[in-house]
Structures are given as structure tokens and as C-alpha cells.
């Protein structure tokens, strides 16, 4: 019945022990027997019996005491207490201390058999419970770990049902998009009132496969993020898809960087032709300088020097354009007198106009007022536009008409309007429309396609506009509208360095 189960028998009554021993062995127990508690504990330590059956009178201590120690040191061992006939109180005390049962002397064999079975069952259940508890604890630990992972992964994770309602979300999601369980994904993520056109969650519900998309989502605070979205099905025990997990990685920074790199690459790519031309011109200048000196030809030396100087000037402005373009600049604005500013700009243009014998006229009589600008930036933009006006006159080879560039300023309530008028080549419609496009140039070897693009950006940054009217063969008019006061949002976007300048 109990083959190989170890039982330890302790009682000072040796006769009782041996008769019980015979009985127990017949039941298949492996019996160890002793009259002393001390020996009993040595045996327990050595043999780990499943059950200890002890009388209340031992040679060195009462059975109750042995029970106490047993419970304390070996809680997994069951104990049956054998008490004297009628000694219910010791029996009950034994139960209270954790004995699995007690039995009266003289021991009834059938009753003992039942008690032994119960004790062993109890032991078995104890083990089971212990195992379950351990499992439970580890499950619980894993659950906490998973929750931590769920919350701290650098992604937005949400769970959605078939109607795109959020049934769960991780901490990051809640932080950026709010804790709105039960609301629709498209409302929370995109502030839409109906599902998105090609929804990866819908696709996963449909085919049970993971899907990937790139989306632009809007956070609670109104910021836009580029996210890379993965979906995966969650199935119940029967394999039916009950929810879909959507995991979105914020790749805004990568996209921004990429955009910048792309335009930088585009920039350098399309400028390489110009740069190659400049390097060749420089080679030529140096060659002619060297050979001119060798041959003592002053004319060649002079020409070469002119080439080198002009080429270096062109390289300089090209490099400065590139530097401008590769940097996000904020307006470094101050309140500036329009007249002073305009005189400065005119001063930069006059020498070039004189060099090419182009009349340069200006009318600043309205200009004695103030406006808020980044003087360095706006001045370079205006110089660029005026230089274009002069170039338009230089390039016009049509007749011997006398060329002029007019630079006027009118001031109205909110704006200062600069006009750059020339009677040079003029532009057709296509040129006019592409004028401010990056890398558009009509100037052949002289143009980089950056100048007007940047001028336009600068004016726009000031909250202004440039209008262009032009007719092929007659000339062009650039009208640059700059607000007197920089719009609040532009000022606001400026960093705290502002105080240093005002």
C-alpha cells in the first residue's frame, strides 16, 4: 500500500514500537525506529522520512516537544501523535501544533491505516501547494517584468479591438497621446473622425499577418511625429484574433536628419558642376599667371590676376551660400532705421553699377522710419536681388540702350516696400515661376541657383513677400514687402539670446 515510504517510529515503549513496526512493514513502509528524540532527529536528517509517528512519552522528552521542533525544522514532514487512551487534550494540543492527526492507544490498525493515508495525502497536497505557490510567484515576477518592459520600450504600444478601440496602451503611449482607453485609435493618434484609409490594424485583423506602415501622428500637445508602425495579431485559446497589437517607433528625428541630408546631398550634387567650373577657372588663372611671369607678358599677368580674383570671389560667395543653407538660422533682429539700412545696401551696389556703366538711382524720401529686421540677413537678400537686376542689364546684349537700376522705398502703415527695377533682359513666365526654386539659374557659369532661393527664404522668415513682374526684353521689377514689426511667432521661435541684442 505504501511501498518504500519511509516512516520514523518514536516511543519509549519498545514493545509497542516493534509490534507497530511489523504492521507498518506489512503495509510496505520502510520503518526506522527509536525511543529517543535526539536519535530521531539524527535519523530525520539522514533519511528524510515522509511521516513521523510518535508517542507522547519518549526517553528524553515529551512527544509534544518533538512535534514542536519537527514543525519548526521540518515543516514538510507529517506527524501522527500516539496518545494514551482517553488523553484527548494532548491529542488536540498536537493538532493545534500542526500534527496531521492523533490516535489513541491501543492503536486500531484500520484507523491507523486511514490516518497514514491522510497524512501522506496531506503531504502530497502540501508539496503541490508549494509548487503552485512557487509557480505563482514566478508568474507574478514575470508579469511585473513584462509590465515594466511594456512601459519602458522606446515605442508606443497599443492594443486595439476590431472597431479600432484602444483596449490597452503602454506608459509612453499614455504620456504622449493620453490615457483614453475605449476611444478610437484614429481619434487619439490622428485626430480624425473616421478610420484611416489603409489601416495596418484592419489588415492584420483581416489576414492575421503582421503589417508595417509609416504614419504621421499628432500628439496631445499638437506635435507631429513620424512613426514606423508594426502590427501583430493577438489570438485567444481557440486561435481567433481578438485584438491587434500596434507598435509605433518614433522616427521623427531620423526623418528630419534624412531630409536635411537629402537636401544637402542634392545641394552638393547640383553644385558640383559649378564648383568644377570654378576650379578649372582657377587652374587657368594660375597657369596664365605662371606662364605670364615666365614670358614677361604683363597683359597676360593682369588678365590672370583678374581671373584669380574674380574666381576666388565666386568661390567665396558659393561657400557662404552653402554655409547659409546648411544651417538653420534664427532671426537676430533689431530695430533699424530704414534710411540708414537702405543707404548701406545702396553703398554695396553702387560700385558694381558704376563698373558696368549702369545708372543706379534711388528714392528714399519716405524711408525715415524704423523697422524690425535681421539687418545682416535682409541686407544680403536685397544685395542679391539688386545684383540680379544689374546682371540682367549686363546680360542684355540686345541694343545700345542706356541701362538703369532703380531702388525705391515706400512705407505704408505696416510694411516697408523695397522696389528693385531694371530695364535689362526681363524674364519669361517659366523663369519667373522658377525664380526662387533651389538650383534654378539662368546665369550659366556665374550662377549657383542658390542666391534668390535664399533671398526669398530670408524675406519669408521676416514674414514678408517678394512679388515679381517682368517682361522679356523690357526688364523686371522685384517688390519686397517687409513688415515693420516681426510677427510674434517668429519672435517667439527665437532663442533667449534676444535680450543681448535689444
Amino acid at each position: 500500500m505504501f511501498p518504500g515510504t519511509k516512516i520514523l517510529l518514536v516511543d519509549q515503549d519498545e514493545e509497542l514500537r516493534s509490534s507497530l513496526e511489523v504492521f507498518l512493514e506489512r503495509l510496505g513502509f520502510d520503518v526506522i525506529s527509536t525511543g529517543k528524540a535526539e536519535i530521531a532527529f539524527t535519523e530525520i536528517q539522514k533519511d528524510h522520512p515522509a511521516v513521523v509517528m510518535s508517542g507522547n512519552q519518549l526517553e528524553d522528552m515529551p512527544g509534544i516537544q518533538l512535534l514542536r521542533r519537527l514543525r519548526r525544522e521540518y515543516p514538510q514532514i507529517e506527524m501522527i501523535l500516539v496518545v494514551d487512551e482517553g488523553d484527548i487534550s494532548t491529542g488536540v494540543e498536537g493538532l493545534r501544533l500542526g500534527a496531521s492527526d492523533y490516535i489513541h492507544k491501543p492503536v486500531n490498525s484500520e484507523a491507523l491505516q486511514v490516518l497514514l493515508k491522510r497524512a501522506l495525502d496531506r503531504r502530497e497536497k502540501g508539496f503541490l501547494i508549494q509548487r503552485y505557490r512557487k509557480n505563482y510567484e514566478s508568474v507574478n515576477r514575470n508579469k511585473i517584468l513584462l509590465q515594466q518592459l511594456f512601459d519602458s520600450v522606446p515605442c508606443y504600444i497599443s492594443l486595439q479591438d476590431e472597431n479600432f478601440r484602444l483596449t490597452g496602451a503602454n506608459k509612453r503611449f499614455k504620456e504622449d497621446f493620453g490615457d483614453y482607453l475605449g476611444s478610437h485609435c484614429y481619434e487619439v493618434y490622428k485626430h480624425r473622425s473616421e478610420p484611416c484609409i489603409s489601416c495596418p490594424v484592419e489588415a492584420t485583423f483581416h489576414d492575421g499577418e503582421p503589417h508595417q506602415t509609416e504614419e504621421v501622428v499628432t500628439s496631445q500637445s499638437g506635435e507631429q511625429y513620424n512613426v514606423l508602425t508594426w502590427t501583430a495579431p493577438l489570438r485567444d485559446v481557440s486561435g481567433k484574433i481578438t485584438q491587434v497589437m500596434e507598435m509605433s517607433t518614433n522616427i521623427t528625428q531620423i526623418r528630419k536628419l534624412e531630409g536635411h541630408l537629402t537636401s544637402l546631398g542634392l545641394l552638393l550634387g547640383s553644385m558640383s558642376h559649378g564648383i568644377r567650373g570654378l576650379l578649372t577657372a582657377l587652374d587657368g588663372g594660375i597657369y596664365r599667371l605662371e606662364t605670364g611671369i615666365e614670358k614677361g607678358e604683363q597683359e597676360r599677368i593682369d588678365g590672370a590676376l583678374e581671373t584669380v580674383k574674380a574666381t576666388i570671389q565666386r568661390i567665396r560667395s558659393m561657400v557662404l551660400d552653402i554655409l547659409y543653407y546648411t544651417k538653420d538660422r534664427e532671426l537676430n533682429w533689431t530695430r533699424v532705421n530704414v534710411l540708414d539700412f537702405a543707404n548701406q545696401v545702396a553703398g554695396l551696389i553702387r560700385p558694381k553699377a558704376e563698373k558696368y556703366n549702369i545708372a543706379f538711382q534711388y528714392d528714399f524720401h519716405q524711408a525715415d522710419t524704423f523697422f524690425e529686421i535681421d539687418a545682416g540677413l535682409l541686407s544680403s537678400a536685397l544685395v542679391n536681388i539688386l545684383e540680379n537686376s544689374i546682371d540682367a542689364c549686363i546680360d542684355d546684349r540686345s541694343s545700345d540702350k542706356s541701362y538703369e537700376v532703380i531702388f525705391n522705398i515706400t512705407v505704408n502703415k505696416d510694411h516697408v516696400v523695397f522696389e528693385a527695377i531694371d530695364n535689362g533682359t526681363g524674364m519669361d513666365r517659366q523663369m519667373r515661376e522658377n525664380l526662387f526654386t533651389l538650383f534654378f539659374s539662368s546665369k550659366g557659369y556665374r550662377g549657383t541657383g542658390l542666391g534668390l532661393f535664399i533671398a526669398n527664404q530670408v524675406v519669408e522668415q521676416h514674414g514678408g513677400t517678394i512679388d515679381v513682374t517682368s517682361e522679356l526684353g523690357k526688364g523686371s521689377c522685384f517688390r519686397i514687402n517687409v513688415p515693420k514689426v516681426i510677427p510674434e511667432d517668429v519672435k517667439y521661435a527665437k532663442d533667449c539670446g534676444k535680450e543681448d541684442n535689444t
Binding site: S272, H273, G274, I275, R276, G277, L279, T280, A281, L282, D283, G284, G285, Y287, R288, T291, R300, G303, T307, A310, T311, S442, K443, G444, Y445
Partner: protein, 117 residues
């Protein structure tokens, strides 16, 4: 008699460079600032060789080249493409050579000598 080279480039600095360089090496030169001007000069000067830039404001190099090839009298003139456009190697396949700016002038001279020896 010295051989004559027509230099077609929209950058006057490069024209004066090549003019002096070829002149120093015993060639006569003439020049044009773009493709449409170049055709007239070909007819007038009847050069032995042409160096051709590809990207010019009025008329691009390839178009000039096609026109040149249609004129029986001039279609045998060797053309060397000198361009700042990379990947321009195949823009004019029949060119005797295609070199990139900035170029090695000794290499250019060698190509010229081989073409009109």
C-alpha cells in the same frame, strides 16, 4: 601650318585659359561662348579640333554636336568634351574623348596631339 582649335565654353576664364595654353603649345585658337555661336565660327574658321563644354545657357553642347554631325563637311572634326558634369561620358558618344573639369592639362594636350597628329 599650325592646326586650329575651337574652344566652346560659356566661362570666359576657361576660354582664356585654353586659348593661352593651346597657343603656348603651338596651336591657333578661336572660341565661342555657346552652341549657337559655335556653329557660325566652325563655318568661318574651319577648325581642326573642337573642345566642347556641355552645359551652356543658350544652346547646350549635345545639340551643337548633333548639328555639327549633320554637316558633311564638318562631321569629321574631332570633338573633345570638357565638362563639369560628371557622368557626362555618354552624353556625346562619338566624341574622341570626354574629360572632366578640373582637368590635367598635359593629359588634354596628349589627347589633342593624338587626335590631330
Amino acid at each position: 601650318m599650325a592646326k586650329k582649335i575651337l574652344i566652346v565654353d560659356d566661362d570666359p576664364n576657361i576660354i582664356s585659359y585654353l586659348t593661352d595654353f593651346f597657343g603656348d603649345n603651338g596651336y591657333e585658337t578661336c572660341s565661342a561662348m555657346d552652341g549657337s555661336e559655335a556653329m557660325g565660327i566652325v563655318k568661318k574658321e574651319k577648325p581642326d579640333l573642337i573642345t566642347l563644354d556641355l552645359e551652356m545657357p543658350e544652346e547646350w553642347g549635345p545639340r551643337f554636336f548633333r548639328k555639327l554631325m549633320k554637316e558633311k563637311e564638318y562631321s569629321k572634326i574631332p570633338v573633345i568634351v570638357i565638362s563639369g558634369l560628371t557622368g557626362a561620358k555618354y552624353a556625346i558618344q562619338k566624341a574622341v574623348a570626354s574629360i572632366h573639369k578640373p582637368f590635367d592639362r598635359d593629359e588634354l594636350l596628349k589627347i589633342v596631339e593624338e587626335s590631330i597628329a
